[in-house]
């Protein structure tokens, strides 16, 4: 048979058509799909029955109730507990990512002892017995030589039974150097102490207020108890309340507020005093409250009248007179107004003057210790320890300076639930100070910056593996939740409470005499006494009626001058470090719910939510007003160098209309050198660029940014 052109073509076309009509192509496509997809390395999570364990989150001071879903002993998802007084079902980015920390690669698996140079990452695995003996031996020797005071502790937290154990240990051992990582709580406490003679915290009752005047507090950006505050914000919205945000940058809080008022950075206190002046001049203040609950009013009134006239305040703050006046009228006219301070997430102390100026506003409208106002909340003794525990807490902001200058000789430093090498400002000085401390003991669960640079690591269980009482930050009605083990310890770690008990026992009498318990768990149960049953069954303790009533009667008179004979010295304007000619701009930090900047580094899920206008590859973007950028010849995405008196860093430019000209804004929480590849090496740690700025009235660190220059790279 001869195959001609015609039959060849028809055969070919016919063949193709035939194949196309047959199931073959579809079968092949299907096969190839299966072949390219059914890789053996694609994990198939094993099935099983779902159970839930209730616990509490300790990743930030928020103190949320969490419910963890488990499948066959594996924890698979963290959710918020509905009906919990702190978060009522809500949960934040960090809380949701908790399992990435539990099962993550940065966990420390055993006690480690440094063998190479400090920070070189060379460790040898040692037994718990050896580790505890080593610490006990060292501490014992120092005590014998009368050098107990040279032992210090930096703790992320000073509430609850674990810090209480640390404090007791330090008291029994003979050191007063148990310190809490600096935060705005320090200034709140000092303000309450100086103005009303109480040892208490400030707690702002946002959700019950109808007019919130916020001096830069990131109410929905992780301030106070973050999830609680976001809920409070929604409650205020629904009830028709108003939120006014005063800060130089259009933060999320400013964006969601009813009015954003940009202000020259660092002049918030002046605005508060200016508003106070208007309220006094127009006699809009609550006379009853001022007469019966405050002192030194006349002195304060005369002071603000002479120094903080509305014209002066306009000059200082850059806010128009009419705006200041309108703010004063609205604030004084509201039914339940509250003035709020503690900038950003409250991670920086701030000046005493700022807190006092804001508290003066609250006193003028008579909203101290009233619903919808501000409460002074004393530490609730839900738990009691047998025997007395002297308060060993010191302010931590001078610690590094004193060590660096040799004023204080630290022989041993404990680091608990904190990462000072990363989170304290002026990182270079902190590193220098730490280099002078011969023995650093880290209790960290993760290989963070401080653990990396320590000499001995006694890894704590992660919160999902341990019991602990958890205190929600600054709520008018204190809530204590119980963190309970969700899974059994994944590695050879130990509860820090147990480790302290063991060290004390190893040291023998007299230190051991103050520690009668065999385990942290039995100590916890005993400490809570009658409250334990409710705490362990309900998961949290909250006493609405008793707590509020006790607080209101306990409040003392509010002293407008905070005990300063020369009131002016309380409000000294602070001059930020750096030569204005060399550093014409001002670098300010900002906080975000998506970037953890405390002692926990951002887990992979959280890093994934960071916008590409903040982080691009490994480059951090700083926000600059287009006007400022134009003057410097910078365009969107340009590389530049930020330089301050403390250091410099390479950044990229993001043009943002929501920031005052002349400022450069950088997020806190990036620029880690430790942790995993999902976080390490991304961006810049702003603490490398910022120094401290001492408030002469209080000794607190009032730095919120620093003078800076931006140079095109």
């Amino acid at each position: 048979m001869k195959i001609g052109r015609r039959s060849f073509l028809s055969l070919g076309i016919g063949g193709i058509a035939g194949i196309m009509l047959s199931p073959l192509p579809w079968k092949l496509m299907d096969d190839s799909a299966i072949w390219t997809q059914a890789w053996p390395w694609t994990p198939v999570p094993p099935k099983g029955e779902a159970t839930y364990v209730n616990s509490a989150c300790t990743l930030c001071p928020g103190g949320c109730g969490i419910s963890v879903r488990k499948i066959n002993g594996r924890a698979v998802k963290i959710e918020g507990i509905e009906g919990h007084p702190v978060n009522d079902g809500g949960i934040c980015v960090l809380g949701l990512s908790g399992l990435q920390l539990l099962y993550g690669p940065t966990r420390i698996r055993f006690p480690f002892k440094r063998v190479g140079e400090r920070g070189a990452g060379k460790w040898s695995e040692i037994s718990w017995e050896e580790a505890i003996s080593e610490v006990a031996q060292k501490l014992g020797d120092l005590r014998k030589n009368g050098q107990s005071e040279s032992v210090a502790c930096l703790s992320g937290n000073d509430k609850g039974t674990v810090p209480a154990l640390f404090k007791r240990f330090f008291s029994a051992y003979g050191s007063s150097n148990f310190m809490r990582i600096p935060s705005v709580s320090d200034s709140y406490e000092l303000a309450v102490l100086r103005s009303s003679g109480q040892k208490a915290q400030l707690a702002f009752d946002i959700e019950n207020s109808d007019f919130i005047l916020s001096f830069g507090s990131g109410i929905i950006e992780g301030w106070g108890s973050p999830v609680h505050m976001i809920r409070a914000n929604s409650i205020v919205r629904k009830a028709g309340g108003k939120i006014i945000q005063i800060e130089p940058r259009l933060s999320n809080t400013a964006a969601k507020s009813d009015k954003w008022i940009p202000i020259n950075p660092g002049t918030e206190y002046a605005l508060a005093l200016g508003i106070a002046n208007v309220i006094i001049l127009k006699s809009l203040f609550n006379k009853n409250f001022v007469d019966s609950n405050t002192s030194e009013f006349n002195k304060f009134a005369a002071f603000v009248k002479s120094v903080y006239s509305i014209d002066n305040v306009e000059k200082i703050t850059g806010i128009k007179k009419e705006t200041i006046e309108a703010l004063a009228l609205e604030f004084a006219g509201a039914a339940k107004p509250v003035a709020v301070c503690g900038r950003g997430q409250g991670k920086v102390q701030g000046s005493l003057g700022e807190v006092m100026a804001v508290q003066a506003l609250n006193a003028l409208v008579g909203n101290i210790n009233k619903k919808g106002g501000v409460f002074t909340v004393s530490d609730h003794r839900y738990f009691t320890l047998p025997g007395s525990v002297p308060d060993a807490t010191k302010l931590a902001n001078h610690f590094t300076d004193e060590v660096k200058s040799g004023k204080y000789t630290a022989a041993v430093l404990f680091v608990y639930e904190s990462n000072p090498l990363y989170s304290l400002s002026d990182s270079k000085s902190v590193r220098e100070a730490f280099a002078k401390i011969p023995f650093i003991v880290s209790f960290s669960s993760f290989m963070d910056e401080t653990a990396t640079n320590s000499d001995l690591i006694l890894p704590n269980h992660v919160y999902l593996e341990r019991y602990e009482d958890v205190y929600a930050a600054s709520l008018p009605i204190p809530v204590i939740s119980l963190s309970s083990p969700v899974v059994s310890p994944q590695f050879d770690t130990k509860h820090a409470g147990d480790v302290i008990l063991k060290i004390a026992k190893k040291m023998g009498s007299p230190v051991a005499d103050s520690f009668a318990w065999n385990s942290y768990d039995s100590y916890l149960e005993e400490a809570f006494g009658d409250n334990w049953k409710v705490l362990s069954e309900q998961g949290f303790l909250e006493d609405r009626t008793v707590a509020l009533a006790a607080l209101i009667t306990a409040s003392k008179k509010f002293d407008f001058t905070a005990g300063f004979t020369d009131i002016k010295s309380l409000y000294t304007p602070l001059v930020t470090e750096g030569d204005p000619d060399k550093y014409p701009l001002f670098l300010i930090p900002y906080d975000s719910m998506r970037i953890a900047s405390g002692y926990i580094g951002d887990p992979p899920f959280a890093v994934k939510t960071v916008e590409d206008t903040v982080l691009k590859g490994n480059d951090i973007l700083v926000e600059v007003n287009p006007v400022t950028a134009k003057a410097l010849g910078l365009l969107e995405g340009n590389s530049a160098i930020v330089e301050t008196a403390r250091g410099k860093a390479k950044v990229k430019i993001h043009l943002f209309e929501g920031i005052m000209p002349g400022l450069v804004a950088m997020p806190r929480g990036l620029g880690h050198s430790a942790y995993d590849n999902y976080l390490a090496g991304k961006g810049v740690n702003i603490n490398e660029l910022i120094g401290s700025l001492e408030d002469p009235a209080s000794g607190l660190d009032a730095a919120w940014g620093i003078r800076a220059a931006l140079i095109k790279a």
Binding site: I91, F605, E657
Partner: protein
């Protein structure tokens, strides 16, 4: 395609997101990732290849300092019903593998990973950028596979994925109801992970057809709008905003158009 009989009991699950309440915190994004075994890479700053079934967008009003305003807009799959609610969503209409389908019982647009062969027609067709392609195999650092949930299968390289309205939660709730001898499930029994986690209470989820569900009334709010409504995709995500410029940002307008 044969038209199924319209069933009065058919559900139409949807969401109302209150942009006045949304704080842009990002919880919905992470709640979704954790619930649905969404993978992550070392660099997630290339947002075009970053898989986030739920993504929070940041809108600005374009005005200069100090009149700038920002609004956050969480955007999951819109579960388009198509014109006349016939299920002709843009993606379903183009999928050559029937890997994505419109469920007439629930109004949910499904995605069946094992059927998908990665042609990405659906991604081109979707006007909302709600679909994501797995360019790489998912890799979890050693040990982290422990937290993977068996309720949602892990996707492999070469397939498209997207928000499923946490369909597995619907199935679990249905199973439970069936086991307990009930024919229907309550509003609270089936909630998406994002709605459950939102600290601001900005996301409300439920049956848009059921007058007993909160979304039924909420969607009628005068401030309610949907994204790109003029395309007639008939999405099931409603947004609420009291600001006019935000409502206007929900669609494309000519410069001088009213």
């Amino acid at each position: 395609m044969k038209e199924e009989k319209s069933d009065k009991s058919a559900k139409k699950f949807g969401m109302v997101i209150d942009l006045d309440k949304c704080t842009g915190c990002g919880s919905c994004m992470v709640a979704c990732m954790a619930e649905n075994n969404v993978p992550f890479k070392e660099d997630e700053s290339k947002k075009l290849v970053s898989i986030t079934w739920m993504r929070v967008y940041r809108l600005t009003n374009g005005k200069s300092f100090p009149d700038t305003e920002i609004c956050y807009l969480p955007k999951p799959c819109q579960h388009c019903g198509g014109k006349g609610e016939h299920g002709h969503s843009p993606c379903v209409s183009v999928c050559p593998a029937t890997a994505t389908d419109y469920n007439k019982e629930t109004g949910i647009v499904s995605q069946i990973y094992t059927r998908c062969f990665g042609c990405r027609y659906c991604m081109a067709a979707c006007p909302y950028h709600a679909r994501y392609f797995n360019w790489w195999d998912p890799v979890w650092p050693k040990g982290m596979e422990e937290y993977l949930s068996p309720n949602v299968s892990v996707r492999m390289r070469g397939v498209v994925e997207k928000c499923s309205f946490c369909f597995h939660r619907y199935q679990l709730a249905k199973d439970k109801a069936y086991y307990e001898g009930r024919s229907d499930i309550g509003e609270n029994e089936y909630q998406t992970a994002c709605a459950q986690a939102c600290p601001a209470g900005a996301i409300t989820f439920g049956d848009l057809n059921d007058s007993g569900h909160a979304v039924y009334e909420l969607k009628k709010n005068k401030n309610a709008f949907r994204l790109l409504e003029r395309l007639q995709t008939n999405p099931k995500i409603y947004y609420l905003s009291s600001r006019q410029w935000i409502r206007r940002a929900g669609d494309n307008y000519l410069k001088n158009e009213k």
